[in-house]
């Protein structure tokens, strides 16, 4: 708008027509008219400079008249947000619904923010029945199976003298170093020969195994005595030997407790556990000391018993309650579930359920309908379509046998589902609190460093309290020297202890320990 140059002429024109009035008033009027442009300019400048406060007032006015608008009501659903339950973090939904477990309204969060996952679980996701159907995911319960490892090797028939018999047919078979654990004395062997294709195999028994291993071929030799040697076999003949050894007989499976003892009436048959903290196991109903969730009641399966042990010294165990660990200086033994396997059988996970990334092996366990937890497992050598489980899984768990690939891919595509991938490690959230420097001066030696790290895993409030308390009232050890100190509430006071083991002692005799 450029007419400012002409501006002065318009107001100036009425001036000559009104010359008759009083000169003072007239002069004032001239001044006012002449100044009008200036005044308008000033007003405009004032408005512009105060625009922010004006807009604030306007907002206040609008809000007070019309009330606040619905907060983002139209765009609550967007592809980069999801809804989760703060109480059951596994429940994640794309829609603002209620939690299927605790019936609380889900909370919106941005996708990609890491969930804190329970110990031992590297990824977790909740899939709706529709998505499970879409991906063709199938689950099946884990069970014990009589798995056997088969060794196929070749050997040469010889005639030898043994202790019992002067001359029997012995087959000298080559056994690879790796297979030595799978060969035991007295093990049955089946022998076949291509020359006698279609014939029923000869039976044999492993008689002895050479202790030395060839440095070149990494093999040793086992001798199989052919039971019903007849004329068909002759020395120098090459035969194929098939040795089968039950996996259950082999370490580490053989040391897993087997043959469950009979259940006595005193044995507790149900326990209370925290779904997110597997180490928390109580015989009475209560709450988890970590997150205050109500403990879940679990009935023990036929093959499960309760045992007592010291978490500091795993070798100290007991069959019933009330024992103490002498090595710890009187720590009460904690209860745990011991899985007994049936004789001759081991826990087997189907081959299709196992995902091998090269660095780790994962199995997806369906912990609730539609909820899949990625569990890192350790398995033994493959036996047909199954792998024997060394640790990581329990009988009765449902594992994804079909579609495990897709579940795994989902965790990789959606980093918030997986703590282990993409570096979003557990504990990183609370570990990055701002209160790091509020504590005492950092200790210098390694132990102190360890303590500091352990304490860093606590929430800032707890950390401050733990730093104030410094030592465990039961053992007198520095807090944090055995990992993050657990928090116990006794007689209305919050106390930190060095490890879970001290909790029972403290609860039993609070006055003794809390004197200090």
């Amino acid at each position: 708008m450029t007419p400012t140059t002409n501006d002065n002429e318009i107001p100036s024109r009425p001036a000559p027509t009104n010359r008759g009035s009083g000169s003072l008033a007239w002069g004032l009027r001239i001044v006012v008219v002449r100044l009008r442009f200036l005044i308008v300019l000033l007003v405009a400048l004032g408005i512009i400079s105060q625009w922010n406060s004006l807009t604030n007032r306007w907002d206040w006015l609008v809000n007070s008249v019309m009330g606040p608008g619905p907060e983002g009501a139209g765009n609550t659903i967007s592809s980069d947000t999801e809804y989760f339950c703060p109480m059951d973090p596994g429940v994640v939904s794309d829609w603002p619904t209620k939690c299927s477990i605790c019936n609380m309204a889900l909370v919106r969060r941005r996708k990609g923010e890491a969930v804190q996952l329970p110990d031992g679980i590297v990824a977790r996701m909740q899939l709706s029945p529709y998505r499970i159907q879409l991906a063709g995911i199938r689950t099946s319960p884990l069970g014990y199976r009589p798995l056997a490892r088969e060794i196929v090797t070749e050997g040469v028939v010889e005639r030898r003298a043994t202790a019992d018999q002067p001359a029997v047919l012995v087959v000298e078979v080559e056994i690879h170093e790796r297979e030595i654990p799978f060969v035991s004395l007295g093990q049955a062997a089946e022998l076949t020969s291509e020359a006698f294709a279609g014939r029923e195999p000869w039976k044999g028994v492993v008689d002895s195994v050479k202790p030395e291993v060839s440095p070149v071929r990494h093999t040793t030799v086992a001798y199989v005595v052919v039971e019903a040697a007849n004329d068909e076999l002759w020395p120098g003949m090459r035969v194929r030997a098939r040795l089968q050894s039950a996996i259950a007989e082999i370490e580490p499976f053989s040391s897993q407790p087997s043959d469950p003892p009979p259940v006595s009436s005193a044995d507790p048959r149900r326990v209370f556990i925290c779904p997110d903290h597997p180490q928390v196991l109580e015989l009475k109903a209560g709450r988890c000391p970590h997150d205050k969730n109500v403990l879940e009641q679990i009935s023990l399966a036929d093959h499960q018993r309760i045992g007592w042990w010291c978490p500091m010294h795993p070798s100290v165990t007991a069959g019933e309650t009330g024992h103490e660990c002498d090595e710890c200086g009187g720590m009460k033994l904690l209860a745990r579930v011991v899985n007994y396997r049936p004789r001759g059988e081991v826990l087997a996970v189907p081959e299709t359920a196992l995902i091998d990334t090269g660095e780790r092996k994962l199995v997806y366990v369906e912990s609730m309908p539609g909820m899949f937890d990625g569990v890192e497992v350790e398995v033994g050598a493959r036996c047909g379509e199954f792998f024997p489980v060394i640790r990581g899984l329990e009988a009765g768990q449902r594992v994804a046998t079909n579609g495990a690939f897709l579940i795994d891919a989902e965790t990789r595509l959606n980093p918030s589902l997986a703590a282990a991938y993409f570096g979003a490690a557990r504990g990183s959230i609370s570990g990055s609190g701002p209160a790091d420097t509020s504590g005492p001066a950092p200790p210098t030696d390694d132990a102190a460093e360890e303590i500091r790290e352990a304490l860093a895993e606590l929430s800032p409030v707890d950390r401050a309290a733990a730093l104030r308390q410094k030592i465990c009232p039961v053992t007198g050890l520095a807090l944090g020297s055995m990992g993050p100190p657990p928090r116990v509430v006794v007689n209305g006071k919050t106390v930190f202890i060095c490890c879970e083991g001290c909790a029972a002692a403290l609860k039993e005799n609070p006055t003794k320990y809390l004197k200090q």
């Binding site: 007419p3 400012t4 009501a73 990609g112 070149v216 071929r217 891919a409």
Partner: protein, 1416 residues
């Protein structure tokens, strides 16, 4: 000069008119011969160098092929960048060239360089150039399907018959096979048996190769005749002649009988050591059609061809080929560019026709002279045609290759208003002059001498205004990159059309005026329309000339409101300040001043707080009328997994009633233009025509209303406790609607799908019936039938035809199907002796009219119509009719069911979220939910008794109260419910219905469109809004850096979909040779490599010769030996050297035995190498020789440029890059930023240029300013309109502004010309008093009103239809039309009112010194 041209044209009008007609004919020819594509080719000018190296890992390919090739390809003329990617099996190098470099020249240059480089590559590896098509050249997909034939057979038909035939069609660059199983003969060796005979795999390969050959033995002469000797040793060529049907079995048998010579010298047959079978080759691609695996092909068009023409030829060829296919096999076209192109052209042509009609109607209404309107109506199409002539000429001269596409047509469409403007002004002025001369008398005699001066007056300004519009469009030519490619065609056509109009306006229009302006002319006040406007306009202008405050206030308000959506606070505040000052100082009273200020501030506040600023966006891609579902998963996906998931997904997609057909591909087609990995699926979703979409959607408003009603009833009836307060209630309704609508959609979808499936099952029979009836009637009309068949006889014919009806009829009846049906039915007729057996009953006998029509069609290159094409057209029409009827019926059913379904779903959802009064209700619903939450029943392991489980489906007793309530509510709903068909936008895209239905775990959905996707696939750059390019020397560093960047960027507000391209994640089975152990065992590394290659990968021994087909024979180890890492560890490796093992000093028996064993000829692979599973790169990308990775992301809810600044800062602060790694920020924002920058620089320059031209023309600074005054007005109006219609800033919108500014300036020029002329007429400024000046200004402005009204009406009415254009290409036209429309509306106000006022003031101020000098 202009005057002289006009004079010449008027004098030699017949010549000019003849030239005009010639131009029209030439234009028609040019239209027909310009290549027509839907979308401009946005891909980069690139040459693809492709190298196959089967079985090698990306790292090997990168090191041995890609790196040497890419560094050697640098430095060619015009090369911008060399980007490359190394994948499993192949290397792909994109040499990206400057756009100015000729495509074929570049190819030649690259291939010359390749011949030199080949020496650096491993032996046997040959790089080759990709086909000479462009990325948008994939114009046609087809599948080869057949019942009863396996995928191997179908693939052989595709590979050896269909493919080569289609590749011979002119204009086709390449036909690539995809999917199916290419077959091969597999020899699976048992290495143990091989070892037993002392043989190696190499010996087997050699034996096989030698066993397959044919030799020549010159000739034998026998009784003076010559006989050629031919030794046939081909596999499968048996001694007793050829029987094709069993050839493959025979080859297998022949292979088994190949003789190997064992170590001991005995001859053993190959069958002893290997298992021979016919199997599938290693597959890297799967094709799928509607949930069934098929095989097919992809056709790539040659560079610069006409896609319409090529597709037509392809379809013809397919029709010809179909006859030679085995029975039951058919070629089904599944993707075709033609409908897209025709619909895009139809959209724009429709707009053009609308504009021509509106312009003509306006002219008739305003001028009340029909013949004059003809003059105007002729120029519009003629200008359009001449722009085609210009394109054709440029193309043939080889200057510029401007193609017809949606953009170039849109260029003409947006300039329609301008195109008629010049002729309107010219004609109107002639009318005015003649009316002034003749008054109400009819015009007669030669009026040339009268028209000439009239035309001369406006000729110059018209020419100038067009020139200025041309210049104002220059910035569009300055755009580079993708925007340039997108908008340059538009700028070209628009400029051509403008030039044409400028020329026509001073040649043809004056010539036509002298001819057409005849009869009685009407004055300005004769038209009620013009009269009414003048009656309002004149007093208003009269008032405003002295008291302009209201006008300034009004413009100030427009200005403030218009600037608010810009989102630049300081510009907004400056605008507000200027408006305040101008309006405040122009008011006469204090009260007025206060009122003006207060009202402006109020308007400013409202605008500031309640107008959401527009953000800068990337241009929306053109809608291609179909969507592509392109999900990706992790790179570890195997072909089996991908194929399974592809089928599962496509079956879901098929169940949408709107979807006609889906064709999916996982992995790649065998062409260098398709680098898709296996973890990527591309599914093309073809929709049915829009009219066949069932009405199945409930509008959100209705859903909310019904939910609220249900809530109220539930509370009223005491089923649930009332919500705490109204706000919770409203929130509850909102939440429930969000949950229940998707569920409702799912139910309705299924219902509609089932009904559609019913129809599809029914259609073949109904169509067959129709075909037979129709055929009989056509034959009857031709007089071929001896008598009319009775119904019984007709039934017989139909039965003959029914046997050949197939389900393809239901999809889309193909010509060959109809032909087959008709032929079979006619055989029956012949049997019944209706038709004489001699002669062809299907020969058509046409009348002379049809014959001449056929002749014209043949001239245009159309195939002649036959009996069957006519019958086919009828059947297709009937197909359409049946469908339409069905949809009508379906819609009534849907609304019936929909009301029930929605009510039920909502009741459930509501009660679930509230406290029910009756605990039984809660329990009942919880029971239902539990039941639904269970995944569908499946068979668990054996110990669960399945039959008992299925018998145990719990039944939940229906609660009578709920049931009654539901029925009542549904009944009420039915009374007012209205369902609508879904929109494409609702279906496709993120969070669309398709997306929600396809939330498959493990797959990330990506929605795109076929052509767009092609461009993206071959674009090696970033296809998201923002991308961070991480370049480095070490792959691990690059990966780590990009992951860190992704983590940091994710935290920045506005970041969405942040993905660091996953380089790693492919599973590797790594075999690392341990050289020390090799030495100990006496194994050479070469032997180990051989074992790995032969045992796992297999080695090609030879190729069979089976007629036209060739199939490879591959030798590898039996399956047991390559199952997993355990079996790989057991692979036997031959020992080449013998090594004596002696223990130091002692020679025990055992040591001897070990030595003996060591001398055995094989060791296990694990003994000489470490075998492990690892993760490695799936693809290695590099750029100019450096390794590269991208972090891709989109920006939501924030300006992209602002976001990039913030993200860049965050990355610099938080990340320390490893050595040798550096970053570049790129992405579409770069294009946008560049476009914005270019426009920001060029645009002021152009404005300055226009100003200079105006000044030079009129030698008056003030007038030049006044003419430019419309530009800010147009800006404000444009922005406001843009905001109103909800378009964000894109390059498209900016182009609209550019067009708008030119038009506004041009209108301003014409107005000023009229004003100046009026002043000149009144005797010039020298003899003027203010009163006379005022009168002159009023007269001039009013005189301008009529043509102004015309141009405004034609412009606005011509543009308005574009705003609601819906067809293909509308998403380009609409945002472009929005600012033009708004800008013109406001600019016209400025020109109509403000311009005369300011003109008056300027002139008056010049008057004053005159007066003062006169006074003194």
């Amino acid at each position: 000069m202009i005057e002289r041209t006009i004079e010449f044209s008027i004098r030699n009008r017949s010549l000019v008119i003849a030239a005009g007609m010639a131009l029209a004919v030439w234009g028609a020819y040019a239209v027909h011969h310009t290549p027509m594509d839907a979308i401009p080719n946005l891909s980069e000018n690139q040459v693809i160098v492709f190298t196959d190296w089967m079985g090698h890992s990306p790292r090997e390919i990168e090191d041995q092929i890609t790196y040497p090739l890419s560094i050697n390809l640098q430095g060619l003329a015009g090369v911008k960048v060399v980007r490359s990617s190394s994948d499993f099996n192949f290397s792909m190098i994109n040499v990206i060239l400057d756009d100015s470099v000729d495509f074929y020249f570049a190819r030649q240059q690259v291939s010359e360089r390749l011949t030199r480089v080949s020496g650096f590559l491993p032996p046997g590896v040959t790089p080759y150039l990709g086909p000479d098509g462009v990325a948008t050249g994939q114009i046609f997909w087809y599948t080869v399907e057949g019942k009863g034939l396996d995928l191997g057979r179908l693939r052989a038909i595709q590979d050896w018959y269909v493919r080569h035939q289609l590749a011979s069609v002119p204009g086709v660059a390449e036909v690539a096979s995809v999917g199916g199983h290419a077959i091969e003969y597999q020899l699976d060796i048992d290495p143990r048996r091989l070892a037993a005979h002392g043989l190696t795999a190499g010996a087997v390969v050699e034996a096989v190769a030698r066993a397959n050959a044919a030799v020549g033995g010159h000739v034998v002469e026998k009784s003076n005749a010559e006989y050629i000797v031919r030794g046939v040793g081909w596999l499968g060529a048996s001694a007793d002649g050829d029987d094709i049907s069993k050839r493959s079995n025979r080859i297998v048998r022949d292979l088994e009988q190949i003789i190997l010579t064992a170590q001991g010298g005995e001859a053993i047959p190959l069958a002893d050591v290997a298992h021979v079978s016919l199997g599938a080759q290693f597959r890297r691609g799967v094709l799928e059609h509607d949930g069934n695996e098929v095989t097919g092909g992809v056709v790539l068009m040659r560079h610069g061809e006409n896609p319409l023409e090529v597709t037509r030829r392809l379809r013809e060829k397919i029709h010809e080929l179909s006859a030679g296919l085995p029975p039951g096999v058919r070629i089904v076209p599944v993707y075709d560019r033609t409908p897209l192109i025709t619909s895009a052209v139809a959209t724009v042509t429709g707009t053009l026709v609308e504009a021509i009609v509106t312009a003509t109607v306006c002219v008739v209404l305003v001028l009340l002279h029909f013949r004059a309107s003809l003059v105007i109506a002729v120029t519009l199409p003629l200008a359009t045609l001449s722009s085609f002539v210009a394109m054709w000429t440029l193309r043939h001269l080889g200057i510029a290759d401007v193609q017809t596409n949606i953009m170039s047509l849109a260029g003409i469409a947006v300039s329609i208003g301008v195109l008629v403007d010049s002729s309107i002004v010219m004609t109107e002025n002639a009318l005015h002059t003649l009316h002034g001369h003749f008054g109400d008398q009819p015009v007669r005699g030669d009026v040339r001498s009268l028209i000439l001066p009239a035309c001369r007056t406006v000729g110059r300004p018209i020419f100038f205004s067009v020139l200025i519009m041309l210049i104002s469009f220059l910035p569009v030519f300055a755009l580079g990159g993708i925007e340039g490619k997108m908008f340059r065609p538009l700028a070209f056509t628009k400029s051509f059309a403008l030039v044409a109009v400028a020329v026509l306006a001073i040649t043809l229009v004056p010539a036509l005026c002298t001819l057409f302006i005849r009869g009685r002319l009407r004055g300005e006040r004769d038209s009620w329309l013009v009269r009414g406007v003048i009656d309002v306009y004149r007093p208003v202008l009269d008032y405003l000339l002295e008291r302009p405050a209201p006008l300034v206030w009004f413009l100030g308000v427009t200005w403030v409101v218009g600037l608010a959506p810009l989102g630049w606070r300081w510009i907004f505040l400056a605008g507000l300040g200027a408006a305040l000052v101008a309006a405040g100082s122009l008011t006469r009273t204090w009260l007025g001043c206060c009122a003006v200020i207060v009202s402006l501030v109020l308007v400013g506040l409202i605008a500031d707080r309640h107008i959401k600023p527009l953000v800068w966006q990337s241009s929306t891609p053109l809608d291609e009328g179909m969507v592509m579902d392109m999900p990706i998963t992790v790179p570890r996906a195997s072909i089996t997994q991908s194929a399974d998931d592809l089928k599962a997904r496509d079956m879901v997609l098929c169940r949408f009633p709107e979807v006609d057909m889906v064709v999916g591909k996982a992995g790649r087609a065998e062409t260098p233009t398709d680098p898709a990995p296996l973890d990527m699926i591309e599914t093309m979703v073809n929709f049915r025509p829009h009219e066949l979409w069932p009405k199945r959607k409930l509008r959100l408003r209705d859903a909310q209303r019904q939910t609220a009603a249900i809530l109220a009833t539930l509370v009223e009836d005491g089923v649930v406790e009332p919500p705490a307060n109204a706000a919770t209630g409203a929130e509850l309704v909102h939440e429930v609607v969000a949950e229940s609508l998707p569920r409702f959609d799912g139910i309705m979808r299924e219902v509609a799908y089932q009904r559609n499936a019913d129809l599809e099952g029914d259609l073949p029979n109904r169509l067959t019936e129709f075909t037979v009836q129709r055929m009989v009637r056509m034959l009857q009309r031709q007089g071929v039938l001896r008598r009319e068949p009775s119904s019984g006889e007709l039934a017989l014919c139909m039965r003959a035809a029914f046997a050949h009806a197939n389900h393809h009829l239901a999809m889309s009846p193909a010509l060959e199907d109809v032909e087959r049906l008709a032929r079979h039915a006619s055989h029956e007729l012949m049997k019944l002796e209706f038709i004489a057996t001699g002669g062809d009953p299907f020969e058509i006998q046409d009348g002379w009219f049809e014959q001449s029509l056929g002749f014209v069609a043949a001239l245009l290159g159309r195939p002649p119509a036959t009996f069957f094409t006519r019958l086919h057209a009828d059947v297709v029409a009937e197909h359409r009719v049946l469908w339409r009827k069905h949809i009508g019926k379906l819609n009534t059913e849907l609304i019936e069911r929909g009301c029930d379904a929605f009510t039920r779903v909502t009741i459930e959802e509501l009660i679930a979220r509230m406290t029910a009064c009756d605990p039984q209700t809660t329990e009942y619903l919880a029971g239902i939910r539990r039941l639904r939450a269970q995944p569908p029943k499946k068979r668990h392991s054996a110990h669960v008794h399945t039959h008992r489980r299925t018998a145990l489906v719990p039944t939940i007793a229906v609660q009578p109260r709920i049931k009654a309530l539901q029925e009542r509510l549904a009944g009420e709903f039915r009374r007012w419910a209205l369902l609508v068909p879904s929109e494409t936008v609702e279906l496709a895209g993120f969070e669309g219905e398709l997306d929600r239905a396809l939330k498959m775990p493990g797959w990330t959905n990506v929605w795109t469109m076929p052509i767009q996707n092609r461009v993206d696939m071959l674009a090696t750059g970033v296809n998201t809004a923002v991308g961070v390019r991480v370049l480095g020397r070490d792959l691990d560093d690059v990966v780590r850096a990009s992951e860190e960047i992704a983590a940091v960027v994710k935290q920045v507000a506005g970041a969405a979909d942040v993905v660091a391209d996953p380089i790693r994640g492919k599973g590797y089975l790594e075999i690392r040779v341990d050289r020390e152990r090799c030495w100990l065992a006496g194994v050479s590394v070469g032997d180990v490599n051989d074992v790995i290659e032969t045992a796992l990968g297999g080695r090609l021994a030879t190729s069979t010769v089976e007629g036209r087909e060739r199939h490879p024979v591959r030798v590898r180890y039996a399956r047991n030996w390559r199952e997993d890492e355990e079996s790989v560890k057991e692979l036997p490796v031959p020992v080449s050297g013998m090594r004596e093992v002696r223990s130091e000093g002692q020679e025990t028996e055992d040591a001897q035995r070990f030595a003996l064993r060591a001398s055995r000829s094989y060791v296990r692979l694990a003994d000489v190498a470490s075998v492990r599973i690892a993760e490695g790169p799936a693809t290695i990308k590099s750029e100019n020789g450096l390794l590269r990775n991208y972090v891709r992301l989109n920006v939501r809810g924030r300006g992209t440029l602002e976001f990039v600044d913030a993200a860049r800062r965050a990355v610099t602060e938080q990340i320390t890059l490893p050595e040798g790694v550096y970053l570049e920020w790129t992405g579409q924002f770069e294009h946008d930023a560049r476009a914005a920058r270019t426009l920001l620089v060029v645009f002021p320059l152009v404005l300055g240029l226009i100003f200079l031209i105006l000044y030079w023309t009129y030698h008056d600074l003030a007038d030049a300013f006044l003419m430019m005054l419309a530009v800010p007005g147009a800006l404000a109006g444009g922005v406001f309109f843009q905001w109103l219609l909800g378009y964000n800033f894109t390059v498209t919108v900016l182009v609209g502004y550019i067009a708008c500014f030119g038009m506004a300036t041009a209108t301003g020029i014409i107005m000023l010309v009229y004003l100046r002329e009026a002043v000149a007429k009144a005797g010039g400024l020298e003899q003027m008093t203010p009163a006379r000046l005022r009168q002159a200004v009023l007269d001039g402005a009013v005189h301008r009103l009529r043509p102004k009204l015309l141009t405004e009406a034609t412009t606005i009415l011509g543009l308005a239809p574009m705003l609601w254009a819906t067809g293909t290409g509308s998403e380009v036209i609409r945002p472009m039309a929005a600012p033009v429309l708004g800008g013109i509306l406001v600019a016209d106000e400025v020109i109509d009112l403000l311009l005369p006022v300011l003109f008056y003031w300027v002139r008056r101020s010049r008057l004053t010194p005159h007066h003062s000098s006169l006074d003194s």
